[in-house]
Symmetry: C2
Subunit: 323 residues, 2 copies
């Protein structure tokens, strides 16, 4: 039960989720007293869906992830990861430290055989359906072969969770031609050609075309892309609002046109993009934003149920097993 505003927003989000008649069973991992009073506050049919799993320690956002995971065996992140490992839960969802969730998942669940490195996937809104970006930041240093594996991970996710039977996967680059980009990207392009799902390079200006289903990149570039989108969107909204204030006419116009801004704001918000699955470990893992609101936790729990229903981790193992 992590996150900047944990445990309040996590419990609030869980309560909202349990209101859904179709809600799946929930194992909540955290301080026993807190969980007891939460469960006691629920209606009996909701309480029946909750299992409380005690964890006495917490991993902070400022701790070294791998060290903390080793040093705190009774932290909620470690206890939750072990529930998955022991087959006692189907999805590990946390809005705690991304590094610690990754470290616990890698240490206790281990990598799927054949996957060089697990990667974090993020959905980006486009003019058409959202596209999946892989890796969003799990691997700042990659080798060309990793990108080949990311492509297969993206393929399975697009097929099993986005309903795209024949996903088109691209490589982020700085030009269309195979000869463009760094040595890493030139070699990755050559290797990716062996995968029929690979459609070639795309550039930052193509991200929102919706003409492909996913793209792969190193985790440094992926993280730069995500944060540059966030920065640009925030800057434009800010400038727009400043512009609207410039005269009585624009103020009036803005008041009338304001409803038109809402869908865009919603599309660009982190909540809609949702939590980010960690793909390539032996279990379903979903990482929420540290700044998750109760609504984000609610959507994350729904997303978790979808991952479990799709048996995503098992499908990924099958995809790599057949190679």
């Amino acid at each position: 039960m992590g996150g900047d505003d944990a445990p309040q927003v996590v419990l609030e989000g869980a309560r909202h989720y349990l209101d859904d008649a179709s809600a799946a069973d929930l194992s909540l991992v955290g301080p026993p007293d807190l969980l007891r009073s939460f469960v006691e506050s629920l209606a009996p049919e909701q309480a029946a869906k909750v299992k409380s799993v005690p964890a006495s320690e917490q991993i902070g956002f400022d701790e070294h992830p791998a060290d903390a995971v080793r040093r705190k065996p009774d932290s909620s992140i470690v206890v939750a990861a072990k529930l998955i490992k022991d087959g006692l839960a189907d999805v590990f969802f946390s809005a705690g430290s991304t590094g610690a969730v990754m470290a616990a998942a890698t240490l206790f669940l281990r990598r799927v055989k054949g996957v060089s490195r697990p990667a974090i996937a993020t959905l980006i809104p486009t003019r058409k359906a959202p596209v999946l970006m892989l890796d969003s930041g799990a691997n700042a240093d990659v080798k060309p072969e990793y990108l080949v594996d990311f492509c297969i991970l993206a393929e399975v996710y697009c097929r099993e969770l986005l309903g795209r039977p024949k996903p088109r996967i691209a490589l982020l680059n700085i030009g269309e031609e195979a000869s463009k980009g760094s040595e890493l990207y030139q070699k990755a392009h050559r290797l990716l050609k062996a995968n029929p799902a690979f459609i070639g390079n795309i550039e930052g200006r193509d991200l929102f075309s919706g003409d492909f289903d996913a793209f792969v990149c190193d985790g440094f570039s992926g993280n730069v892309v995500l944060k540059t989108i966030e920065g640009t969107a925030g800057f434009m909204m800010h400038e727009l609002k400043d512009g609207f204030k410039s005269s009585l006419r624009t103020k009036l116009g803005a008041a009338l046109a304001l409803p038109a801004l809402k869908p865009l704001k919603a599309k660009m918000s982190a909540e809609v993009a949702g939590a980010a699955p960690l793909l390539g470990v032996r279990g379903n893992v979903l990482i929420g934003h540290g700044s998750s609101s109760a609504a984000a936790i609610y959507y994350g729990l729904k997303q978790s149920a979808a991952l479990a229903e799709a048996k995503l981790a098992a499908k990924i193992e099958a995809a790599f097993n057949g190679r």
Copy 2:
């Protein structure tokens, strides 16, 4: 005289530039017949400022830059580079193939002693004054030491052309802490600390804060940043227009609020960012967009005059000479 719509837009931009009373002398490099009829069409006081330099060959955007530069000694790009080398002109400005301009500049002008690699600088609009990004794409593969040199190049440019006597230079990264990012970025951060102008890491979401004067990064990431900004801005404008069309109320509001969009559109346009200087070669080099309009050529010529007046290349040599 290159560019997608050359030579028309180039000549149109030059004509507009020559209309300014303060216009500097112009050496136009290209097909002699074309230049002759252009000069004949000018008023005598304008024509007096123009020197026609014949060049019979052209380098296309699809040619391999270094090969083309070697194979076409009478191309306008090669002839123009040699004018700088021979001290017959102060600035080499071209809207032709970026790769070919870089290749010609590196081959004929050579690197400034002490500069590991020349880099392309681009101005990005922010909430306050624009910030300089270096490298925007000249070097897809870099070493940590290159970023140290980029920092000094950025410093000189900020001081001499942006009027910022004590520039604050940042490192693009995926987290604030020195331990964040790839091995390349961790090492670059350590090396950059020796420069008092270095203020630490920034992330994509900070790009528009205006709280620093420049940032350095590898050319792959820089190019990804530029094109992601372009893609995000285009996507948001598109969605906004769609939203405005959604009802009579928003249509009316948009019509009234429209003037508020203009400054933002102008701020995000390539023309305002202007042409991109190539820093670190022994001469002033300015690279225009291949898609430059006549207005972009006009601004590029004004920018060229500013580079010459600031004696930028000489200041850069002095900065590296003192190390």
